[in-house]
């Protein structure tokens, strides 16, 4: 048990370093002068990878039964995905904004 714990802790430290590196990459990318949309895409992808790692390892979702993963994660993603239907509207907001002189 003892060695099990310490070996797990070792892997956690590895993951921790990895997460910090991803955060570092995010900052690095921010100053690479990408267009806003591309930057957003990169950052979101990295953030989702980070969140995925945190979910699976830090929050132990990987070690639970798969049914837990399949009950929770698709549900949240589905709801968040549905929320994206507001976007056509946000662009309309920018396009039709009352021009105040």
């Amino acid at each position: 048990m003892e060695s099990d714990t310490s070996s797990r802790m070792k892997s956690y430290v590895g993951i921790w370093i990895g997460l910090i590196c991803i955060a570092g990459i995010e900052v690095f990318l921010t100053y690479r002068n990408f267009p806003v949309h591309e930057l957003l895409a990169f950052l979101l992808v990295l953030a989702f990878i980070e969140a995925g790692i945190a979910l699976m390892y830090f929050m132990h979702l990987k070690y639970e039964r798969p049914s837990l993963f399949w009950s929770l994660i698709p549900t949240v993603l589905f709801v968040l995905l549905m929320m994206n239907q507001i976007w056509p509207d946000a662009y309309r907001l920018a396009k039709l904004k009352l021009l105040i002189q």
Partner: protein
């Protein structure tokens, strides 16, 4: 390492002090009754508000005696001012949707019967359960307090569209303190509902007794479970929306307020927000909320109808599948409330298709219920009648959904009485019919006494015919273009429609009065009704395997073991025509 974990449920002894027993009780049965009582109080307040509104619409100059006592400003000499009409309308909508339709079929009956139906001794977290009731109760008090502040309750409707709801007193009376109280109350309500939903899900998943597999759960339990999942995610969106609204109102932010607004001749000091954002957030919650209101009632009817039809529900798996499908689809369709709201018109088609698709599971559910009636040996008790009434009303209300789901027709029908008719039929009346059925059905279990069937039948007939007289004509008004939320009809074409409104008002007053029969029946039967046997209706589910009313730990220390599904009615070759879920006998299917 596991022996230390436990649930408080299994350890606490029945409380003896009055406060622990009846007020701050951890017992899910008491909490269920508390929710029911709160819903009953709320429904009568909401009904009286609707009476006042209906009287004002039909006879706008009549002074209503006593109304000036409630608000001297809102109703000088008893004549309602336009803003007071809107105040009452807002409160009617809010109280009915949140404190009645969310509470009665879901929180009240769910709390009482979900643990019993799955054979548990209590909810998974009794303390959370108590907290969620008292949180909801606090929300109710805060909401009612809005009646007594200077300018009265808010006038922005139960949807509280920004910027009317966001800019404060310059937008009109009631939008200062009244609207603050509204937003705070709803935020508190969200917290209470989230706590409740967590508890329901955990209980359903973890506290099922031996043999109670998911597929053997009664339909009502399924419906409460699906509803809990919906509300867990829906209220999670309304909560931040309310917080942002409160910030806009009190802290000077402008999430929902664009720049350059002039209200009451004052240029508002806000900039940069979006009005449609509130509508998106609100309806992202609001549409699932509709299913939070109706799904438990569907489940209750699916549970009760077979008992009185003495035959199994048609298509058990399809029923549950449809409930889940409705829950799933409810998150894809909220934009149909916003077809003409200034939303991008392309999105309208995006929202219209899933909205129409929802009619498929709804139709299947209705057809299965009708198919269940086919060839049944119907016992026409009051709960059975309310179930049949539910089907009829649900059809009538659902049909108009076909119209409103289409953006091209919504350009004409949006914000007319057609919409009022639609959602009252399908969400309010249908849901309340489920609640009535449940009340007549479970009252013997809850109080150990039967309700009067004669009074119940009078109640049913008057209510059933009454609701058709109230809401069917509203379709015609809608087709004639009668706009809703008008406190008086001054347009030329609306004046011609006032006779219809008078008819509706009379029907509403009569139907409302018929509810007094119900109230009388409820109170009278509580003390004077004949003593109920343990299983008066010959039902199969677990609540009928215990005493009426159930003991503190629901089954008196016994551990129920389940061998059957909840659907074993009309079984041939058995002593009775049904097999209890706890009965180990083998059923020969032929």
């Amino acid at each position: 390492m596991h022996e230390t974990s436990e649930h408080a449920v299994h350890q606490h002894a029945p409380p003896t002090s009055f406060i622990r027993k009846h007020i701050f009780s951890l017992d899910h049965k008491v909490i269920g009754k508390q929710y029911y009582g709160l819903a009953l109080l709320a429904v009568f307040i909401g009904m009286v508000l609707s009476w006042l509104m209906r009287i004002h619409l039909a006879w706008p100059t009549w002074p209503i005696p006593g109304l000036d006592k409630l608000s001297a400003v809102g109703a000088p000499a008893g004549v309602m001012t336009p803003e007071y009409y809107l105040s009452l309308m807002t409160m009617h909508g809010t109280i009915m949707v949140f404190f009645v339709l969310t509470n009665a079929p879901f929180a009240a009956f769910g709390n009482y019967f979900l643990p019993i139906q799955i054979g548990a001794e209590d909810m998974a977290f009794p303390r959370f359960n108590m907290m969620s009731f008292w949180t909801t109760f606090t929300a109710f008090l805060v909401m009612i307090a809005a009646f007594f502040v200077t300018d009265g309750p808010p006038i922005s409707g139960w949807t509280a569209y920004a910027p009317l709801s966001a800019v404060g007193k310059d937008a009109g009376p009631g939008l200062a303190m009244g609207q603050n109280l509204w937003a705070i109350s709803i935020a508190i309500f969200c917290i209470g509902s989230l706590l409740g939903a967590l508890n329901f899900i955990a209980t359903t998943l973890d506290l099922r007794t031996k043999g109670m597999s998911l597929s053997r759960m009664p339909y009502s339990t399924w419906a409460w479970f699906v509803t809990a999942v919906i509300s867990l995610l829906a209220f999670a969106v309304l909560l931040p929306a309310c917080i942002l609204l409160i910030l806009d109102r009190t802290a000077g932010t402008s999430f929902f307020i664009p720049s350059g607004l002039v209200l009451s001749d004052r240029l508002q000091p806000h900039a940069g927000g979006s009005v449609l954002l509130w509508q998106h957030l609100f309806w992202f919650f609001g549409h699932p909320e509709v299913y939070i209101a109706i799904l438990p009632s569907i489940g209750i009817v699916c549970h009760i109808l077979p008992v009185f039809a003495r035959k199994p529900l048609l298509g058990p798996r399809a029923t549950i599948g449809c409930m889940i499908a409705i829950g799933f689809l409810s998150y894809m369709v909220w934009g149909h409330h916003m077809f003409v709201s200034g939303m991008n018109p392309f999105s309208a088609n995006l929202f219209s298709v899933p909205t129409l698709i929802i009619t498929i599971p709804a139709t299947i559910l209705t057809l299965l219920l009708i198919g269940t009636v086919y060839g049944a040996k119907m016992r026409f008790t009051t709960p059975a009648l309310f179930c049949l009434g539910f089907i009829s009303v649900f059809i009538s209300g659902g049909i108009s959904g076909f119209f409103l789901a289409q953006p091209s027709l919504d350009t004409y029908l949006h914000a007319t009485y057609f919409v009022v008719a639609h959602f009252h039929f399908v969400m309010a009346v249908a849901s309340i019919f489920g609640v009535f059925a449940a009340t007549y059905f479970w009252f013997p279990k809850m109080y150990g006494r039967m309700m009067s069937d004669t009074l119940g039948k009078w109640h049913f007939w008057l209510t059933f015919i009454g609701v058709y007289c109230i809401f069917m004509p509203m379709h015609y008004l809608g087709l004639a273009g009668n706009v809703r939320r008008y406190s008086a009809f001054v347009d030329d074409y609306l004046i011609a429609l006032i006779p219809v409104h008078k008819f509706i008002t009379i029907a509403a007053l009569a139907t409302g009065a018929a509810q007094l029969i119900f109230l009388f029946n409820l109170i009278w039967s509580r003390f004077r009704g004949p003593i109920a046997p343990d299983n008066p209706w010959e039902g199969t589910s677990l609540e009928w395997s215990t005493t009426s009313p159930p003991p503190f730990d629901n089954f008196g220390g016994r551990h129920m073991v389940v061998y059957q599904g909840p659907n074993e009615y009309g079984v041939e070759g058995t002593a009775n025509d049904y097999v209890m879920q706890t009965s180990p006998e083998k059923i020969v299917t032929g």
